[in-house]
């Protein structure tokens, strides 16, 4: 079924269209899958996001909680995760427990090239849409399912957030400060940042496979495995040398300095590193201790620097703590030393480089107003990426989508009346 629904919207024609012939069903709520799908929508893929109705989506609370922005409009239109991971998509709200809802979903499956399922293992099967059933409806469709630990094995059905997936990768125990208790290691959602990239790679790879075989594929994408390959050093250290990785903090075993130092303002930190003799010379010059880099000084060689790690770090800390952050960074940059401010969220706005590259995206949203959102992960020429649709409102494109799927005005009216579709959450 060749329908290009986006053609029905007044859109900037200069946007990137590299993936324009890929049609995606976004059947997912939290972080990784929706964000990975937005990355493809940025490049022209046509995406329909199917949201649970009348039961609310997890990222759409009906009462104000910690992740809801102030201002007019319902709480469920203004949450951070919903806004961040859902640009450039069309929004359909659908009751999949209803017979008509299932029919609509069936037509969508016939329309799509790929369905990306971000729910826990088994959820979509219980709705009557297992991979076998989906593949029967459309033999050309691809499907990605992405539970935390994958679709099979002894942990099938277990659920997690990113922090827990990371705990089971071996990474968590190596983060943190070795002088502090293990309980103090913070959780991160690193695996929510790595999985979207695999969602994108897997989608295009499955499109190539489909071209060759004329048949859709099922992709089992474990959040854990999508991240685990980022840790080859830790794996080989154990496999080859029987050493468990230590908590290195900001240090490196094989060069000095490599650390984080506090400036005259106790809330402002800088990182400083010298990976080779040239950068070390630059650092010594910047801090007016050029003799530390002369051949007769023990610190001039990597060997001397490694055996005097503590003294070197103390020296740098003493110098840095009497300087302002911008002052030390300017000085070190001038001398080609590796350095950067450790910035917080508003600090990102002070990065002149991002401004000069027009990275920030000014986005208008019905209830959130105009906001300066973070930009794209990459810049493409000649066809630029655009943030042409903000995160959709609940059911915003219901009628457009259903019309394109061949439903009549009367049918759409009936679906609305029967709560098969809708644009308001009450529960």
């Amino acid at each position: 079924m060749a329908i290009t629904m986006l053609n029905n919207l007044p859109l900037d024609t200069e946007r990137c269209l590299a993936l324009k012939d890929i049609k995606i069903i976004d059947f997912a709520e939290v972080f990784a899958a929706p964000f990975g799908i937005s990355l493809m929508a940025d490049m022209g893929a046509e995406v329909i996001k199917v949201e649970s109705f009348p039961r609310r989506s997890l990222t759409r609370p009906i009462s104000v909680d910690a992740r809801v922005a102030d201002g007019p409009g319902p709480a469920y239109e203004k949450t951070a995760p919903q806004t961040q991971g859902n640009r450039n998509k069309l929004f359909l709200s659908l009751n999949l427990n209803d017979k008509d809802g299932k029919e609509i979903f069936t037509r969508l499956i016939k329309w799509a090239d790929i369905i990306i399922d971000g729910y826990a293992a088994g959820v979509i099967d219980k709705l009557g849409f297992s991979w076998e059933q989906i593949h029967k409806i459309n033999k050309n469709i691809n499907m990605i399912s992405m539970p935390a630990w994958g679709v099979d094995g002894p942990y099938t059905g277990y659920t997690a957030l990113g922090s827990l997936v990371e705990a089971s990768s071996g990474h968590v125990i190596t983060r943190g400060n070795s002088k502090k208790p293990t309980e103090d290691i913070l959780g991160t959602i690193q695996t929510d940042a790595s999985a979207p990239l695999e969602v994108m790679f897997a989608t295009i790879a499955s499109m190539y496979r489909k071209k060759e075989t004329g048949n859709g594929s099922f992709i089992d994408l474990s959040h854990l495995e999508a991240f685990a390959w980022y840790l080859p050093g830790m794996l080989s250290e154990w496999e080859w040398n029987k050493r468990l990785p230590k908590q290195l903090g900001n240090e490196e075993n094989d060069f000095v300095p490599h650390g984080c130092f506090v400036t005259s303002n106790p809330d402002e930190w800088v990182v400083i590193a010298a990976e080779n003799d040239n950068q070390w010379q630059g650092l010594c010059k910047a801090l007016l201790k050029e003799n530390f880099a002369k051949i007769e000084h023990p610190w001039s060689s990597i060997i001397g620097r490694i055996s005097n790690k503590t003294a070197i770090n103390e020296w740098i800390q003493q110098e840095v703590q009497v300087m302002e952050r911008s002052e030390i960074i300017d000085l070190l940059v001038k001398n080609n030393v590796i350095t950067a401010p450790v910035i917080n969220a508003p600090g990102l706005l002070t990065n002149e480089q991002l401004t000069s590259r027009n990275w920030w995206q000014s986005v208008d949203h019905k209830f959130l107003g105009n906001r300066l959102m973070s930009g794209f992960l990459w810049d493409i020429k000649p066809d630029k990426q655009k943030w042409y649709l903000p995160a959709g409102l609940l059911g915003e494109h219901n009628e457009l989508i259903l019309k394109n799927l061949g439903f009549s005005k009367n049918e759409i009216k009936k679906f609305n009346a029967n709560q098969v579709i809708g644009n308001e959450y009450t529960q």
Binding site: A18, M43, G44, A66, K78, A80, Q84, G85, D152, P154, A160, G162, A167, S169, T174, K180, T182, E183, D184, I185, L186, G187, T188, I189, A193, P196, L197, F201, S206, M207, Y208, R209, S217, E225, A228, Y230, L235, E237, G249, N250, H258, C260, W269, V270, N336, T339, A340, I343, N344, A345, P346, E352, Q353, L354, S356, L368, R371, S374, L377, I380
Partner: protein
């Protein structure tokens, strides 16, 4: 059945962990990747750990795991004669991924035929243009720029990076995702695309930064998943043989956890069923949770709690990761045969699609130089001339 990316040709120039991780997925899914090795081996071949602690260009962990199945040719890309060879290699490919210092990267892009040549992904810390584009950075300084380091530290103490090269490999995986997309695009619309990928933008634009929370909510949260005594249990808790990590603060999660530890009455206990009261009674709650945890191993906590659909996972180290029953059942690790190390274990497929993923051993330094030059129709005399002048090794 062919591998999904068979027939696609990709070139990698840079010698870095970032560049190698960008092309790894191409080769493992069937594409041909020509790796242009730097004359000194580059960062990827020189980064520890090494097999049995013996440093060599063949036995570094990052090279062994991330250069699987590639072809290696050693070229001095700074010489004109070297550039001549690179230009011919690129002309015979669909995608070139470059991660060199910015000025050198631009010179490589100039070699590409703007009509019929391959698409490119140029990776640099700040992007190819702009006031910071020439700054020297490394993984830690890039990470510091992205807001994640600031969130990864307790108030008043040193902010920390993540594990070594985790951010590098994320940048590489980002380049892979956009790289494959522009190959697909060019296959369908014949438009050659150039991607300018700034590592800082790639990390700062992803979902795990604090920026969007701040711009929408006005709040700046430390990494939200750490141990918290106001709302609990979340973060790391000690059990009989180590630690587990919880994310079970929300209403239904907390209720199920109370049931799992045999105290369903706590669900309606006024100390715990109101957010404000709950924040005052962490110690009281631990009197119920601690004894339960202290007699169970992390594996037991994981399995018993997950049966109650409580979000918890064991905090494990690498020796446990490779033996984990889930990893064994899913073949999450695979063996490759390395000509110096012998059989060695690396991480398996990042996702499973039939039998589309296969890791072959990494190439020895420059082992395919002659084969590649011959394919590009360089005569024996020309190959000798390139060697004599030092453009190839």
């Amino acid at each position: 059945m062919e591998q999904p990316l068979s027939g696609i040709k990709v070139v990698e120039i840079g010698g870095t962990i970032v560049a190698a991780s960008a092309t790894k997925q191409f080769t493992d899914f069937g594409a041909q990747v020509i790796k242009i090795d730097l004359p000194d081996g580059g960062e990827i071949r020189r980064t520890p750990p090494f097999y049995k602690d013996h440093p060599s260009l063949e036995t570094g962990a990052f090279h062994v795991a991330l250069d699987t199945g590639k072809k290696s040719i050693v070229i001095d890309h700074t010489s004109n004669s070297g550039k001549e060879v690179i230009s011919r290699i690129c002309q015979d490919s669909q995608l070139v991924i470059i991660n060199l210092p910015v000025e050198e990267t631009k010179k490589i892009i100039q070699l590409i035929d703007k009509e019929l040549g391959p698409s490119t992904v140029a990776i640099s810390p700040h992007g190819l243009e702009g006031p910071y584009s020439h700054r020297t950075e490394n993984e830690m300084s890039i990470f510091a720029w992205t807001t994640r380091m600031e969130r990864h530290g307790h108030d008043g103490s040193e902010p920390l990076r993540y594990g070594p090269h985790v951010a590098d490999i994320q940048v590489g995986a980002t380049a892979a995702a956009v790289g494959l997309s522009i190959i697909w695009g060019q296959d369908h619309d014949n438009i050659r695309r150039d991607v300018d990928l700034s590592s800082i933008e790639a990390l700062a634009g992803n979902v795990d930064t604090g920026y969007v929370d701040w711009v929408l909510l006005g709040t700046q949260r430390k990494s939200g998943m750490g141990r918290n005594t106001d709302n609990y249990p979340i973060g790391i808790y000690e059990c009989k043989d180590g630690y587990v990590m919880f994310a079970a603060t929300l209403g239904p999660q907390f209720s199920r956890l109370c049931e799992a530890i045999g105290h369903p009455e706590l669900v309606s206990d006024p100390r715990f069923n109101d957010p404000i009261e709950k924040s005052k009674h962490f110690e009281a709650f631990m009197k119920y949770l601690d004894p339960w945890l202290s007699i169970r191993t992390k594996k037991e906590v994981f399995k018993e709690m997950q049966e109650f659909r409580v979000m918890v996972a064991p905090v494990v180290n690498m020796s446990e990761v490779v033996e984990d029953e889930q990893a064994v059942a899913r073949n999450s690790f695979v063996e490759i045969e390395h000509n110096q190390i012998g059989k060695t274990t690396i991480h398996g497929a990042p996702f499973k699609m039939d039998d589309s993923w296969k890791a072959l051993p990494p190439p020895e330094f420059g082992v395919h130089t002659t084969e590649i030059l011959k394919k590009l129709s360089y005569s024996k005399e020309e190959q000798i001339a390139l060697f004599k002048i030092g453009a190839i090794r």
